[in-house]
C-alpha cells in the first residue's frame, strides 16, 4: 500500500522500459531513487534528523518531536490542498487568510447559540465558498490564479479584521471534543496524516485525481477528451480552501485562541515551499501529496533543528531559500530528463 501510494502511477520497477544495459548498478539505483522523488526528500529528512541528533543531544525527545509536529501539522494540511491545485495548474495564495477566517466564523456561529460542531461546519463551508469564489474569478473571468487569489488574500484579511474588530478571542468549548479537534497532544498530526492519506488516495485512485493530473498536464488535450477542466479547477480551489479552513480551526483549538492575523502569507508560502521541495511542479501535472507532506516535514525539521542549535533566523532563511531554489531547479531538470527518457 505504502509503495503504491508513493509512486503516483503505481508502477512496479520491473514494468518500466528496460534500463539500458550499459548502466552500472549505482546509476541504476540512483535513477530508481530519482524516479521516486518522495524517496529522495525522505532521505533528506532522515539525514537532517541524524545530523541534528548528533549536533544537539535533545533533538529526539518527546517534547521536541511534539514541537516539530506542531510545525508540520497545519502547514501539511494546507499543502495537501495546495498540491492538488498546483497539479491542475493553479495556485491559491489566499489559503493563509482562510486559515484565519474559518475559526472566526466558527466562533461567531457558536456565540449565536449554535453548537460548536455546527460552527466548525459553518467555518468549513465559508472556506469552501471562498474557494468557489477563487475558482469562479479564475476560470470564468480567466484571471491567472496568481492574481485572483492575491486579490482574495487582501479581501479576506480585511474581512477577518473587520468581523473580529482586530482582537483575538478565546477558542470556545472544552473537554474531549476540543482534544480531538486539535488540542490533544498528537491530535493535529493525526489529522494531518489522515488528510494526507485521503487526498493522496483521491489523487492516485480516483477519476478526480487522474483528471486533475490531465488538466494540469495537458489542458487542451484533457478538455478535448471531454474532461470538464473548469469543474476540476473549481473543485480543487474549494478543496484547498476547505483544508486551509480545517487547518486554521485545528490550530485555534490547539493554541486556545483565535487570532485575526494568524496564518497569513507565511503559512501559505511554507505550504507551497513544502509542496515544491516534495516534488510538485509549479507548471502543473506533477506532484504527490505524500511528497508535499515530506517536504513540509523536511523544512520543519530544519527550522526546529536550527532553533535548537541557536542558529539565527537569518541563516535559516538563507538555507531555506537555497533549498527551494535547488528543489525547483532539480524539478525542472528531472522533468526534462524524464521526458527525454534519460532516467
Amino acid at each position: 500500500m505504502a509503495e503504491t501510494i508513493l509512486s503516483n502511477d503505481s508502477t512496479p520497477e520491473t514494468d518500466l522500459p528496460p534500463v539500458p544495459a550499459r548502466k552500472g548498478l549505482l546509476p541504476r539505483l540512483g535513477s530508481i531513487i530519482l524516479q521516486q522523488r518522495e524517496a529522495s526528500i525522505l532521505v533528506v529528512a532522515i539525514v537532517e534528523v541524524i545530523y541534528f541528533q548528533f549536533a544537539s543531544s535533545n533533538f529526539i525527545t518527546g517534547n521536541n518531536i511534539r514541537t516539530i509536529f506542531e510545525f508540520v501539522s497545519a502547514t501539511a494540511i494546507i499543502a495537501a490542498g495546495e498540491v492538488m491545485l498546483l497539479i491542475c495548474g493553479e495556485i491559491d495564495l489566499s489559503v493563509g487568510q482562510v486559515f484565519a477566517l474559518a475559526p472566526f466564523i466558527m466562533y461567531f456561529v457558536n456565540q449565536a447559540g449554535l453548537p460548536l460542531w455546527v460552527g466548525i461546519i459553518a467555518g468549513l463551508l465559508a472556506s469552501a465558498v471562498v474557494g468557489l469564489f477563487n475558482g469562479i474569478v479564475t476560470v470564468w473571468f480567466k484571471i491567472p490564479s496568481l492574481i485572483s487569489t492575491l486579490g482574495t488574500q487582501f479581501l479576506l484579511t480585511g474581512i477577518t479584521l473587520t468581523i473580529s474588530q482586530g482582537f483575538p478571542v478565546i477558542t470556545p468549548g472544552k473537554g474531549n471534543f476540543n482534544e480531538v479537534m486539535g488540542h490533544g497532544a498528537y491530535s493535529e498530526i493525526v489529522w494531518a496524516v489522515l488528510v494526507m492519506i485521503v487526498v493522496q488516495v483521491i489523487l492516485s485512485f480516483t477519476r478526480w485525481g487522474k483528471h486533475t493530473v490531465a488538466t494540469g498536464g495537458n489542458l487542451h488535450g484533457a478538455s478535448e477528451a471531454g474532461v470538464n477542466v473548469n469543474r476540476i479547477k473549481m473543485g480543487n480551489f474549494m478543496l484547498a480552501s476547505t483544508l486551509a479552513g480545517l487547518a486554521g480551526t485545528l490550530e485555534a483549538f490547539r493554541i486556545t485562541s483565535i487570532d485575526p492575523l494568524a496564518g497569513g502569507v507565511s503559512i501559505m508560502f511554507s505550504a507551497v515551499a513544502g509542496a515544491v521541495i516534495g516534488g510538485t511542479a509549479l507548471t502543473g501535472g506533477l506532484g504527490t501529496v505524500v511528497g508535499a507532506f515530506l517536504g513540509v516535514l523536511a523544512v520543519s525539521i530544519l527550522n526546529d533543528g536550527f532553533t535548537l542549535l541557536g542558529v539565527s533566523a537569518f541563516t535559516y532563511n538563507i538555507i531555506l531559500g537555497v533549498a527551494i531554489l535547488i528543489a525547483m531547479i532539480l524539478n525542472v531538470r528531472l522533468r526534462i530528463w524524464r521526458e527525454a527518457g534519460r532516467l
Binding site: 480516483t206 490531465a214 474532461v227 501535472g285
Partner: protein, 264 residues
C-alpha cells in the same frame, strides 16, 4: 459479402457535396466534394494553404461551411460542434497533442472513460490496464508496457496510442492530420503498420493528410489532391504514380510563377 469486396461498391462513410467556406474575402474552399467509402483510406494531399486543414475542421465540426452538404452514412447532417461530430463517430487525431504526458498509457486510453469499482469511486486500474493492453495488442501497437508514462514513449509510439485511443472510443471515421510528420523512417513505419492493421480490420474509414506522396501511395486506397480550394484530382492510388502527383503539383507552381513572376 462478396459484392462489396471492391472498394468502389462500398457505401460511403462520409461524403461532402460542393462545400464552400469563406473567411471574409478569402475563399478557403470553393467547391469541395469528396467521398470516403467504408473501410477505405483516403489520402488528402495538397500544398500548404490549399484548404486541407479547413476541410478537416469542417468534417470535425469545428468550423461550419457557408454552403454545401455533408452526408454521414448516407444521411445529410449539419455538423454543429466537435462533440456532435464525435457522437456520429468522427474523430480527429492531431499528432500526439491530445495525450497527457504525465499519465500512464492506459490512463490515457481511458481518459474520461475510466472504469471504476462501482459503486465505489476507486479506479479499477487492473481492468483498464488489461483492456488497454489487449486493445493495443489487437491493433499491433507495441510499447514496453501499458504502465509507463506517455512522456517516456517515442513520438511514433505516442501517435500510435493517440490513434488507438480514437479507435477505442468507437470512432468510425478517423481524420489523421499528418500522422507521419516529424517522424523518423522507423517511427513512420510503425504508424503505417498501424493504419494497415486498422484497414485490415475494416472497422474504421480514414482520411489521412500527408505530404509524403510515396507514403500516401503506399497506404491509401484513393488519393485526392486539393488545389485552390477544390479537388483537382481524385484517383485510386493504384492508378496514379509519384510522377503524376509531382507533375500536378509542379504545374501549379509553374502557373503561379508565370502569374506573379516577382514573387519570392
Amino acid at each position: 459479402m462478396t459484392e462489396i469486396t471492391s472498394p468502389v461498391e462500398r457505401p460511403d462513410a462520409i461524403r461532402t457535396e460542393h462545400i464552400v467556406k469563406r473567411y471574409g474575402a478569402v475563399m478557403a474552399l470553393h467547391d469541395v466534394s469528396i467521398r470516403l467509402r467504408k473501410g477505405e483510406v483516403l489520402g488528402l494531399v495538397g500544398d500548404n494553404g490549399a484548404g486541407k486543414s479547413t476541410l478537416i475542421k469542417i468534417l470535425t465540426g469545428f468550423v461550419q461551411p457557408n454552403s454545401g452538404e455533408i452526408y454521414v452514412n448516407g444521411e445529410e447532417v449539419k455538423l454543429r460542434s466537435v462533440s456532435h461530430a464525435r457522437s456520429l463517430g468522427i474523430e480527429t487525431v492531431y499528432q500526439d497533442l491530445a495525450l497527457v504526458s504525465e499519465l500512464s498509457v492506459y490512463h490515457n486510453m481511458f481518459l474520461n472513460r475510466e472504469i471504476r469499482y462501482s459503486p465505489l469511486p476507486f479506479l479499477n486500474n487492473r481492468k483498464m490496464r488489461e483492456q488497454a493492453r489487449n486493445h493495443l495488442k489487437r491493433m499491433g501497437v507495441s510499447i514496453p508496457s501499458a504502465d509507463v508514462e506517455v512522456a517516456k514513449l517515442s513520438g511514433g509510439q505516442r501517435q500510435a496510442i493517440a490513434i488507438a485511443r480514437a479507435v477505442y472510443t468507437d470512432a468510425k471515421i478517423l481524420l489523421l492530420d499528418e500522422p507521419l510528420a516529424a517522424m523518423g523512417a522507423k517511427e513512420g513505419a510503425l504508424i503505417l503498420d498501424l493504419i494497415r492493421n486498422l484497414k485490415a480490420m475494416g472497422e474504421v474509414s480514414m482520411i489521412m493528410i500527408a505530404h509524403n506522396y510515396s507514403q500516401v501511395l503506399e497506404i491509401c486506397d484513393r488519393v485526392n489532391l486539393l488545389q485552390h480550394g477544390t479537388i483537382a484530382f481524385d484517383k485510386p492510388a493504384a492508378e496514379t504514380s509519384l510522377d503524376e502527383l509531382n507533375e500536378l503539383v509542379m504545374r501549379e507552381y509553374r502557373e503561379a510563377a508565370t502569374k506573379t513572376p516577382t514573387k519570392s
